[in-house]
């Protein structure tokens, strides 16, 4: 199932750009400018025009801040529960609500002073305090983008991202295989993020086959469990590094180090991951072929989408093929 249309619109997926960071230019810039006009009104005799201008800009800032809060909240809901940005986002949101509340009061108080020639000092100080909070919260918002990549490359993913990490243990499995509960029912193109005794693994189902590999990209540690899939490869959402999901080899940079992969087998309809050993490397020919196919159109995904649909239309025994693959590898 793909995400709902409203949600993907609010996330800005059709235009490849999240809406929240686009709209927040307005409240930030308008609040700053409103303060500049307040200061300008203290120069010389002041001007009723400056006092009013400051009021207009502040009103625009509050209105656009309210508008920005909607896509911002939707973006926040889509962050994985145990991600540090979930907490950062909660701070960002709380501080912004405080800022909007302070500006709301500030705006109300200014309504009665629109004929002044100089801005009321108490109201100007209130603006300074609110701007200080806004600076902190804006910085946190920037951290979420530039440090944690929230919203980056999200539009290339057509299925929902994992919203929590499933914690499992290999302690009770003497053969080294860990059963992943309910993994056999996930839809094609979806991923589960697993934490097996501290080892974080992305389990993906692509064209009916299961692949398990490390969650962190080897370029800048982008989340591969939130990536997209083509030709049996996973593409990192951040900088489009492509890895072969069976062998872990880098098909396309900027990453240079292969990812760890784990053998998956389906026993009695249950998906099981072998934690201890990595999968054996595939023949070099296959990798080269995949590389050649990918280099033709390195930035396009539409073709893979068509292939996925074609594969879905053909009824194939996916369980058999997955077990056959793991038998070859183990």
């Amino acid at each position: 199932m793909s995400d709902s249309v409203v949600k993907s619109l609010l996330q800005g997926k059709p235009i490849k750009h999240p809406l929240h960071p686009m709209i927040v230019h307005l409240p930030i810039g308008l609040f700053v400018m409103s303060f500049i006009l307040d200061v300008a009104s203290y120069v010389g005799h002041g001007s009723v025009n400056l006092v009013r201008g400051s009021y207009y800009l502040m009103a625009g800032g509050v209105a656009m801040g309210l508008v920005a809060s909607i896509p911002g909240f939707v973006d926040w809901l889509d962050i994985r529960d145990d991600h540090r940005s979930k907490g950062l986002g909660a701070w960002h949101m709380s501080l912004n609500l405080v800022v909007l509340a302070v500006y709301g009061v500030n705006l109300y108080a200014r309504w009665w002073k629109l004929d002044y020639f100089k801005c009321d000092v108490a109201l100007c100080v209130t603006s300074v305090v609110a701007l200080g909070i806004l600076f902190v919260s804006g910085y946190i918002g920037g951290m979420m983008v530039y440090h944690d990549g929230i919203g980056v490359g999200r539009h290339r993913r057509h299925t929902p991202k994992p919203l929590r990490t499933i914690v499992l243990s290999a302690a009770d499995s003497p053969d080294g295989y860990v059963t992943v509960p309910d993994a056999q029912t996930i839809e094609d193109g979806k991923t589960l993020r697993l934490d097996i005794d501290g080892t974080v693994i992305a389990l993906a189902k692509v064209n009916g086959e299961y692949y398990a590999f490390q969650d962190f990209c080897t370029h800048r540690c982008g989340p591969l469990s939130e990536g997209s899939f083509q030709y049996g490869q996973v593409m990192c959402p951040w900088h489009r590094s492509c890895f072969d999901m069976s062998t872990g080899q880098v098909i396309h940079g900027p990453a240079k180090v292969p990812i760890k992969t784990y053998a998956v087998s389906i026993i009695d309809g249950q998906v099981r991951i072998k934690l201890r050993e990595g999968a054996a490397p595939a023949p070099a020919a296959r990798s080269a072929e995949a590389h050649a196919r990918l280099s033709e159109r390195p930035w396009k995904l539409e073709q893979s989408e068509m292939e996925r649909r074609a594969a879905k239309a053909e009824p194939s025994s996916s369980q058999e093929s997955a077990s056959a693959r793991s038998n070859n590898l183990v």
Partner: protein, 186 residues
């Protein structure tokens, strides 16, 4: 140029990049500074529209638009070197390099349009009773182009990941290492 002075130049360039890219700040400076022109010029357009439609004598609208354009020009000039510093680190074969060039070109045109707009307003006096048609059109064209170039700038971040994960690489490498993953080379 001798070898030592060349390496000195290299150090200076590295230092300038470090400062302009905002690595000391933990947040790129360019997208932070561009909040101002990107919000103030559209605000000037809205004020012009209101002033034009309402007619009559509303110097508070035109004066505010004048200030918005002035502050937008000042902050845009500050944003130029930070943008160049970020752009210089994109590898030449990457598509983001070209997007950055177009972004830069459009922004240069937008800047010139708002300089012309500002000069017209100064000639008419900052507190003129209402915005003229020429001023309104200049603002509208400038903002239209600004939206395109701002979108391209956003694409560089959200589609191509420019500056994403640069400062946080040590943090996430440590997390990945603890999670039993292969980590990026140092």
């Amino acid at each position: 140029m001798s070898e030592t002075s060349q390496s000195k130049m290299g150090h200076l360039i590295e230092l300038a990049k470090w400062a302009l890219q905002g690595r000391w700040f933990g947040h790129p400076l360019h997208p932070l500074l561009t909040h101002l022109p990107t919000s103030l010029w559209p605000a000037a357009l809205v004020l012009d529209c209101i002033s034009f439609i309402k007619g009559g004598d509303h110097p508070s609208l035109t004066l505010t638009a004048w200030w918005c354009i002035l502050a937008g020009l000042a902050s845009a000039m500050v944003a130029v070197p930070t943008g160049l510093a970020d752009w210089s680190d994109i590898k030449p074969q990457k598509p983001a390099r070209k997007i950055g060039l177009i972004h830069m070109g459009i922004n240069a045109v937008v800047f010139c349009i708002f300089v012309a707009n500002f000069v017209l307003r100064c000639l008419a006096g900052p507190s003129e009773p209402r915005a003229t048609f020429v001023q309104l059109i200049l603002s509208a064209v400038g903002v239209g182009m600004l939206l395109v170039s701002g979108y391209l700038g956003g694409l560089m971040i959200y589609d191509h990941g420019i500056r994403v994960g640069k400062e946080s690489k040590p943090y996430w490498s440590r997390v990945a290492q603890l999670a039993g993953a292969h980590t990026p080379p140092k």
